[in-house]
């Protein structure tokens, strides 16, 4: 089924495949940056919790 005419996209392959590739890049970036943001927030919260636990004065 995956014959060459499918990849050629009727001559528009130069535009169709980069279009879908960029879409995957944007979706992947969204997921990755969201996860990284959450992990960073959890780290910061954990550090704040330890600081509070250790009685280091929050002013």
């Amino acid at each position: 089924m995956m014959n060459s005419s499918f990849w050629a996209m009727g001559g528009y392959a130069r535009y169709v495949w980069p279009c879908f590739a960029f879409a995957c890049v944007v979706l992947a970036w969204n997921l990755w940056s969201a996860r990284r943001f959450r992990v960073a927030a959890q780290l910061r919260a954990r550090r704040a919790a330890e600081m509070a636990m250790a009685g280091v004065g929050e002013s």
Binding site: Y15, N30, A34, F37, Q42, R44, A45, R46, A49
Partner: protein, 244 residues
């Protein structure tokens, strides 16, 4: 019904719900987009006018729709936060801004790629793409205003107001760009529009759109957890939630 809505205002509840929902939404998004991609690329017949190039609408149209929907969600969350002083609203608004901006960029790039075969250039000031570009400026405005303040709570409220002012202006901008385009361009150049579509073409588009919506909801849930944690770092429930 009100208890459900009231519970949504409490950060620990929202944090819990977001953590539970995220994987399910992601799975559903993958399913919807999977079907949409396969059907859109392989099964749907080529358009009689644009040939295979029309398949790009399966990415351009959903992302363009999403860029507007996400801005509206951001403005609504900001309005809720500003009027009823629910801090979670600011977290939702801050979380959805970068997602909306990324969809707007995606819509711009796919739009210019899709327009290239028709216009011969990658940018021909098509009314829809121009409105999309201005929408991107609005997104950047809201995000940079939020970061410009040292105090997060003040930055939230300022960005919330700008989001509301922006959402009021989106239809005005779109209408005036369409008027401007008809004034100078006339109808000579074919505008970027989805062709009228039979079922076999339409279903993949609807499922891609659904996939993008679910994907937005999933990423929003993930980002929202980070935003809620950042804003509630001092409260006690955060210490329990983070310790485990």
């Amino acid at each position: 019904m009100w208890t459900w809505f009231y519970k949504l205002a409490s950060p620990p509840y929202v944090y819990g719900v977001a953590a539970v929902l995220a994987p399910w939404l992601l799975g559903a998004a993958a399913l919807a987009m999977g079907y949409g991609l396969i059907a859109g690329l392989a099964i749907a017949p080529p358009d009689y006018q644009q040939g295979q190039a029309f398949r790009m609408i399966y990415v351009h149209v959903p992302s363009a729709l999403l860029s507007l929907t996400v801005y509206t969600v951001m403005a609504a969350a900001s309005a809720v936060a500003l009027i009823w002083r629910i801090k979670v609203g600011h977290a939702v608004s801050a979380a959805s801004a970068p997602i909306g901006a990324s969809f707007t960029i995606l819509a711009l790039v796919t739009g210019s790629l899709w327009g290239r075969p028709m216009w011969g250039t990658y940018w021909a000031w098509d009314p829809r793409l121009t409105s999309e570009l201005i929408l991107l400026f609005l997104y950047v405005g809201v995000m940079s205003l939020r970061l410009a303040f040292e105090e997060p709570s003040r930055g939230d409220r300022a960005a919330a107001l700008l989001a509301i002012v922006g959402v009021v202006n989106v239809p005005i901008v779109h209408f005036s760009v369409v008027w401007w385009n008809s004034l100078h361009q006339g109808a000579t150049i074919v505008k970027l529009g989805a062709p009228s579509m039979p079922g076999s073409m339409l279903w993949p588009l609807l499922s891609m759109w659904l996939g993008f919506m679910l994907f937005f909801a999933a990423v929003l849930c993930i980002r929202l957890q980070g935003e809620v944690l950042n804003r509630e770092r001092q409260s006690t429930w955060v210490r329990e939630a983070v310790k485990s």
